[in-house]
Amino acid sequence: MQAERGQHHRSVEVLASKLRRRQIVGSRTAALETLVVLRQVVSRARFSNFEQLVEIIRGVGRRLVEAQPKEHSVGNTVRKVLHHIREEYQTAVGQTGPQAGTSTSGFSISKFVLQGQPRRHVPAQKTEVKTTLKEDDPEDPDSFSKGLKPVLMEAIQDVLDELETVYDNVSKNARDHIHPDEIILTLGRSKTVETFLKTAAHNRHYTVIVAETGPSYDGREMAKSLSSAGISTFLVPDSSIFSLMSRVNKVILGAHVILANGGMFAITGSLIAATAAKAHSTPVVVCAGQFKLTPLWNLYHEYGAVDFGNPSDVLGFNEGELVNKVDVVNPYYDYVAPEFIDAYITNDGDHPPSSIYRLLKETYDDEDNEL
């Protein structure tokens, strides 16, 4: 038992230290790695009731989130897994969950108020697994976990499949969003946006203006990649975003985190583009996978706020004379408020910023918001 605990601790620790050292870059990679670790943890976990299992997963989640609080996709993945596992457990045990409390005993005025709560409508119950699962069986404490594990693995696999196909699913309606001969402005190098634009190029002929996106200059890579896919591409300095905006038909951005109020954190420069777009009434569309939805309302959240990059990208030590005289900050993300954004294109359909909170309630369970 002890050895086993050490075992899954190790894979958790490995990922935690990788996250801490920022060896894992990109929210999708982080989410995938988290899932793989969770799968290991669940497959080895020993538990005799459901609460124990949830506590094990939460423990792992807490550990990973602490290691890199700014990579929100880690926490989101854990929340999503917990949500799926709860659902599977409820179907397996054969109760339809707390929401079906319409019998007289469970019905109260406060529950009545909660009827307005957004939730995903669970499709007709799968009636395959109806083995009698017995929690806290004193004779065979492992029977519960043995019975439940195949379903759990399936649940995790579902999340994994969704993650692996996320770019394709975001892009599947790309042609409906980009019209022939439009001029699109984008910045940074978001894998999601890149796939989205390339997919649209299969059916449409259009032009992309890519801002360089200093100080990382990811935009240059993006421009290269897009033009090699045969899209007519212009690379422009960040300073010309406003002046070009009058010619732009649509701004397409990537996101780092989508917050519950419908705002987002995105690479620096996004706010410039969004503000310029607002001034010209140009639509701003954000492409992002659902794993970026974060149940965080709060801008002042300890870790939710800005992340800073390496100042030497802005002002290197070769400028020795200046280095002592100035403070250099290199914020990595902009907060883009919901009123700047017209739509989110996700792998789960297109949504206005005002309904993001509902999506969150459907995707995660409320009790997991704090892991």
């Binding site: 007289t104 019905f107 406060s110 109020n261």
Partner: protein
């Protein structure tokens, strides 16, 4: 004979109980005293009780919200297997349980809201129990200072200020007319509510609307706090759609005009006797001092609203015991409750 209004007043004596909740408690007591023989009679009795209660109040919005919730609950309550006496007993139990549970809502809301408060200044309006609880809780964790509006005509802002200062929170009372002046100094606006309506808009002590407009102009967040029993199925399109609006509000006092005013208003004739009209009007002013000089506060109070409606697009978030919601989220709850 059971007097619902008396029961309502009795529960209001507890300073922690809001209008909607008092209404629910009163209706529960009504069931207790009802001799209805069928479900139909019972629901009718409850409806009638709600009507009597509302008719006795100048501003029925809060009570209406509570009654509506309770009536919807009673009508949708599954009762096939119960006899009417059992059903009554069960409903009474539910009502009492809810009243008890509802007392914890303010604490819940306060805890939820504190996460949004950082060190700095907050503007609040009038007096609200849930805002007070939130501010006091925030005071334990953050360094906050509070500006509170005087909130004419009832002047309840002073009550807020006194309580906050007593608790050691730096607090200044600002005039209702100084809201625009103070707005640049605050981080956000936090108000309570009388009711949150289906559009997601807010019904609250008069002045909230102008604060929200100024907050929007200054790009400051405007947060509303509302316990879920204040969700009200009403869709006002303007201020005058509120049930609290009546013909007295904003009416003009009947003109007791001087008899000679007719000649004054015709300037063509005045050219000959240029000096005459001014002296005439001065003399009429002297003879009727009551009409122009002594407008009392009570008179103003009578012709002015006590609550106003704030449009949903001016509200950043509504914090309630069911979570932090966008104004759209509130309407979703209402639809879920009353259409389900």
């Amino acid at each position: 004979m059971f007097d619902i209004h008396q029961a309502f007043r009795r529960s209001l004596q507890n300073p922690e109980i809001a209008y909607p909740l008092a209404a629910i408690i009163a209706l529960t007591e009504l069931i207790e005293n009802s001799d209805a023989g069928t479900m139909f009679e019972l629901v009718n009795a409850i409806r009638q009780g709600a009507e009597t209660l509302k008719s006795k109040l100048e501003n029925p919005i809060g009570v209406d919200a509570g009654c509506e919730l309770f009536i919807a609950f009673v009508t949708l309550f599954h009762h096939e297997s119960l006899t009417l006496t059992d059903l009554k007993r069960e409903l009474i139990r539910q009502g009492q349980k809810y009243a008890e549970e509802a007392m914890t809502y303010r604490k819940k809301i306060a805890e939820l809201t504190v996460g949004f408060i950082k060190d700095g200044s907050i503007l609040t309006h009038s007096h609200s129990r849930v805002v007070m609880q939130t501010l006091l809780l925030a005071h334990q964790h953050k360094r906050i200072s509070v500006f509170v509006t005087e909130a004419r005509p009832r002047g309840l802002g002073l009550k807020t200020a006194e309580a906050l200062i007593a608790a050691g929170v730096p607090c200044t009372v600002v005039l209702d007319s100084a809201v625009a002046y103070v707005m640049d100094k605050v981080d956000f606006v936090l108000v309570g509510s009388e009711a949150v309506v289906e559009s997601g808009g807010l019904v609250n002590a008069v002045g909230s609307n102008q604060i929200a407009i100024i907050a929007r102009a200054a790009k400051k967040p405007f947060y509303a706090l509302a316990e879920s029993y204040k969700f009200h199925r009403l869709f006002p399109l303007s201020q005058y759609d509120l049930p609290s609006h009546n013909s007295k509000i904003l009416s003009f006092s009947s003109p007791s005009r001087p008899t000679r005013s007719a000649s004054i208003s015709r300037p063509a004739e005045d050219t000959t006797t240029a000096s005459d009209p001014p002296t005439a009007s001065a003399s009429t002013n002297d003879t009727e001092p009551t009409s122009s000089t002594s407008i009392t506060q009570q008179q103003i109070c009578k012709t002015n609203p006590h609550v106003d409606y704030t449009r949903p697009d001016l509200i950043s978030l509504v914090f309630s015991d069911v979570g932090s919601l966008t104004p759209e989220g509130v309407s979703q709850y209402l639809v879920g409750m009353f259409a389900g």
